[in-house]
């Protein structure tokens, strides 16, 4: 009976999700159609002549009216066929699925890796900040995280790259020479403690697992810096909100220590808002990392989509948009399910 009502919610949400995907596909298709130029003109660029453009348009079917193209795309989609990239030629088919699959793997790899660092870190910092609110620790963590989110991502990425480069070059800079020797040496020593993470994350399908982890380190750290602040602030706020609940006073009056109060009594009730913000950030990790991908040359879906938009490769754009939208919808759904599962009121109705 209970499970049924949860299952019903899930099914209902999945249904809504499918409708959302459908609308997203229409919006994206129209947007690409409204973009100036098309695939043929974009690839031929400055050297385009009307005849070559027409020939290319004909080959990839761009000479058909947009509505017809959309519905033939939908028809194939319903059969599970994502179609082929416009970059395909006769005898050289590049299906959208085979283009996206490895990149989606990379994107998810990076997202999971970052989440494994960022989520525990954010929860830990948030809990400690809530426990010792208004302490110097709380203030420092707050200000530092605020500062990290107020820098553009690419800027953080470049600064990390600077640190890595400085490992080798710091000693030779004028700045280092202007410093007292002991300071220069200790800075240099500190820089060399930092592992020499690769500034290029150009992995491919042959990259071994641990090498993949190693190469994805800098992108992952950048993203961690970007998302930790949000999650940490939310965790802190949610727990503080809970800490003003009577049952927390009760736990204290029962003689429970501060750690038990937060972990056993406040946290289980704070899951819903925390999970929501974590899901939001995970969605961001999958959907919004274009810039980090570009800066570290990490072959993910974001960069693929931007490339595809630039070259007006409609089938790829469509597929990327759907993958992103689906990720967003699923993550939110999972967050809702976790919220239900951690709330006895919803899980065990009277």
């Amino acid at each position: 009976m209970r499970l049924n009502s949860v299952a019903k919610t899930v099914l209902q949400r999945l249904g809504l999700g499918l409708i959302t995907l459908f609308i997203v596909s229409i919006i994206i298709f129209s947007a690409v159609a409204m973009l100036p130029g098309d695939f043929a003109k974009a690839t031929l660029g400055q050297s385009a002549t009307p005849e070559t453009v027409a020939a290319l348009q004909h080959e990839i079917g761009l000479d058909r009216p947009p509505v017809e193209r959309y519905f033939s795309w939908v028809g194939k989609m319903l059969k599970g066929d994502f179609g082929s990239s416009f970059a395909s030629r006769t005898g050289y088919r590049r299906t959208v699925a085979e283009i996206i699959a490895p990149r989606l793997y990379n994107t998810i790899f990076l997202a999971v890796m970052t989440a494994l660092i960022a989520v525990p870190l954010a929860l830990g910092l948030g809990i400690v900040a809530a426990l010792y609110r208004n302490s110097w620790f709380d203030r420092v963590v707050n200000t530092v995280t605020l500062t990290t989110i107020s820098f553009p991502e690419f800027f953080i990425a470049y600064m990390l790259a600077f640190l890595i480069i400085s490992r080798d070059t710091f000693a030779g800079t004028e700045f280092a020479q202007s410093l007292p020797a002991w300071l220069a040496i200790s800075i240099n020593w500190t820089l060399n403690v930092v592992p020499k993470f690769p500034t290029l994350a150009n992995i491919n399908d042959e990259t071994p697992f641990w090498d993949h982890v190693w190469r994805a380190a800098l992108p992952s750290i950048t993203l961690t810096l970007v998302i930790v602040a949000h999650m940490m602030r939310m965790t802190r706020a949610a727990i503080l909100n809970m800490l003003s609940s009577p049952y927390i006073d009760m736990a204290r009056l029962k003689g429970m220590g501060p750690m038990v109060v937060v972990v056993r009594h406040a946290l289980p009730n704070a899951w819903a808002p925390i999970v929501t913000v974590v899901a939001f950030n995970l969605a961001y990790l999958i959907v919004g990392v274009v810039i980090v991908e570009v800066v570290f040359v990490y072959p993910g879906v974001g960069q693929l989509m931007v490339d595809a938009v630039r070259s007006r490769d409609v089938p790829v754009v469509q597929a990327c948009a759907l993958v992103f939208a689906a990720a967003y919808i699923l993550l939110n759904l999972i967050a809702d399910i976790i919220s239900i599962a951690t709330n006895p009121r919803l899980l065990h109705p009277r």
């Binding site: 003109k41 974009a42 690839t43 690769p198 491919n204």
Partner: protein, 535 residues
């Protein structure tokens, strides 16, 4: 010269072939009266200067997109050009480091019938990567791939003057042109015109089987391409490298960082802003070559106010080219003189006077055109060339001092070539340059060319263009091209700002000879020509 000195010289020549070890060489040096350090120094210098066999190079390219393919109809940018045309394939001819044309897959070529008929003889016994021998038939189908009504090739227009190609036996190909063209072999060196095996009468590009120094091993569009040495390459001793990997690094800072941290050994298109800082790294060397490429601001001469030659002249005097070269290109560019022919090109003649920023002259011409003040729109985007927007900002300031108000409009980068170029009265444009004066003029200034970006139709110029093309007397040709260059300078609609330099950077462990100026990355042939110095 002592005997040991003689041996030392012999040894020096052997270093390059990897036949003398460092230790042996130092012994020889000691025998010749040198110190250990001095002979080691000689060894290192020589070793670097001499090609070495073996090694693996990672080359960071400034381009690369997920839509890239090995199809020679495309090759939109340096990634595909360098990896697939330069490293993997060959054309009939190539341009050497001095800018001269030389046979490549062809053994020799000659023209007849006032440069209307061109006969190319192929090298014997050259094989594709799949083992098939290259025949004249393959050349014909490869060329036809870029011709005809249904071709999608970006190089189609280059072959528009070819009326017929036919194989004359297995090793001879005959091209028949509509009109004489003394520079036709240069056209054959274009990176699109790679020779592919013919399968059932069609050019088979998809298999990737070509004739080049490297065989494609792994290609991930927009990410990287890995190639390994072709053991059967027809040029003796080449290539030197065992393996190369081309890596697409489109972000400037990422490219610079990758070189600084040793992730890659070479980067194309270095960041000019941070070049000075990169230079401080002792392991890194900057390579700068003046190319044929140039940046222009075409004015549509069929539209007011640019239909008035005096207005065009006023504009030409209202721009500070030196400032643009210094600030936008940080000195890594050569000031041009409204003449699209680069100094390195044959028949180059600098027109007089040199156009420079001169408010007096600009006002003079403006007055001559009957105007006190002028207001014009300038459409730019960095899609035209990196720095176009900034250049426009500078032009706005200098033109203002000449009574010309330039309204800078930043256009969308996407579809810039489609919507802005050839459409707006005044915009920014870029030409990667052509190896010959004729080629450049024919594409960008000839009356009938669809890329005549200023819609300039000067009768005398067009008459000279046809004459010069078929003229075989060098001196007469030089005079004709000289006059044409003066015409574009005085009357033409294109403001040619500067010639760009190809600025790239490499780790010192990469060795190379003289660098070709025709394209970036050593004429796109770096993979074939470069090596890893052992030291």
């Amino acid at each position: 010269m002592s005997e040991s000195g003689y041996k030392l010289r012999i040894a020096q020549s052997l270093i390059g072939r990897g036949k003398v070890s460092r230790r042996d060489f130092i012994h020889l040096g000691l025998a010749a009266g040198l110190t250990v350090a001095a002979s080691d120094q000689i060894f290192v210098t020589v070793a670097r200067a001499q090609p070495q066999q073996g090694g693996f190079a990672k080359l960071g390219m400034a381009h690369g997109a997920t839509t890239d393919s090995i199809d020679p109809a495309g090759y939109p940018d340096t990634f595909t050009q360098t990896a697939f045309s330069g490293a993997m394939s060959n054309g009939l001819t190539e341009v050497n480091a001095k800018g001269e044309i030389q046979p490549d897959l062809a053994e020799s070529f000659e023209s007849s019938n006032a440069a209307k008929t061109w006969v190319f003889k192929l090298r014997k016994g050259v094989t594709f990567h799949n083992g098939k021998t290259v025949t004249a038939e393959d050349v014909v189908t490869s060329m036809r791939y870029h011709m005809g009504g249904d071709t999608k090739s970006a190089a189609k227009s280059l072959l528009e003057s070819v009326s017929d190609i036919k194989a004359d036996g297995p090793e001879t190909v005959v091209f028949t042109l509509n009109s004489g063209n003394a520079d036709f072999p240069y056209i054959m060196s274009d990176y699109h015109f790679v020779i592919m095996p013919s399968v059932d009468g069609k050019a088979d590009w998809a298999s990737g089987s070509r004739t080049g120094a490297f065989v494609l091993e792994n290609f991930q569009p927009g990410v990287s391409a890995k190639l390994k040495r072709n053991p059967n390459f027809f040029k003796n001793g080449r290539p030197y490298l065992d393996e190369v990997e081309f890596i697409a690094i489109t972000d400037l800072a990422a490219r610079m960082a990758a070189l600084s941290t040793g992730e890659v050994d070479y980067i194309g298109r270095a960041d000019l802003k941070t070049l000075g800082m990169l230079k401080r790294n002792p392991k890194i060397e900057i390579i700068e070559v003046t190319g044929y490429g140039h940046y222009t601001l075409p004015m549509n001469v069929t539209m007011a106010p640019f239909d008035n030659p005096d207005v065009r002249m006023a504009m030409k005097w209202a721009i500070n080219r030196q400032e643009i070269a210094d600030k936008i290109f940080l000195g890594h560019a050569t000031v041009a003189n409204d003449n699209p022919i680069a100094p390195a090109i044959k028949f180059y003649k600098n027109p007089v006077p040199q156009h420079r920023f001169d408010p007096e002259k600009a006002r003079h011409y403006l007055k001559k055109a009957g105007m006190e003040k002028l207001k014009v729109d300038l459409s730019v985007a960095d899609a035209a060339f990196a720095g176009a927007v900034d250049a426009a900002a500078l032009i706005r300031e200098t033109a203002a001092q000449c009574g010309i108000e330039v309204n800078v409009i930043r256009e969308a980068e996407d579809a810039y070539w489609d919507n802005i170029w050839l459409k707006k009265p005044w915009c920014a444009s870029y030409w990667s340059g052509r190896a010959t004066a004729d080629w450049m003029f024919t594409q960008a200034f000839a009356a009938e060319s669809s890329w005549n970006e200023s819609f300039w139709k000067n009768p005398r110029f067009n008459e000279l263009l046809v004459q010069a093309r078929a003229e075989t007397d060098e001196a007469k040709r030089a005079a004709m091209y000289g006059e044409m260059q003066q015409l574009t300078h005085d009357d033409g609609g294109s403001i040619v700002l500067v010639f760009n330099n190809f600025v790239s950077a490499k780790s010192k462990k990469l060795g190379h000879g003289d660098i070709a100026p025709n394209w970036e990355n050593d004429g796109l042939k770096m993979a074939e020509r470069w090596w890893i110095a052992q030291a």
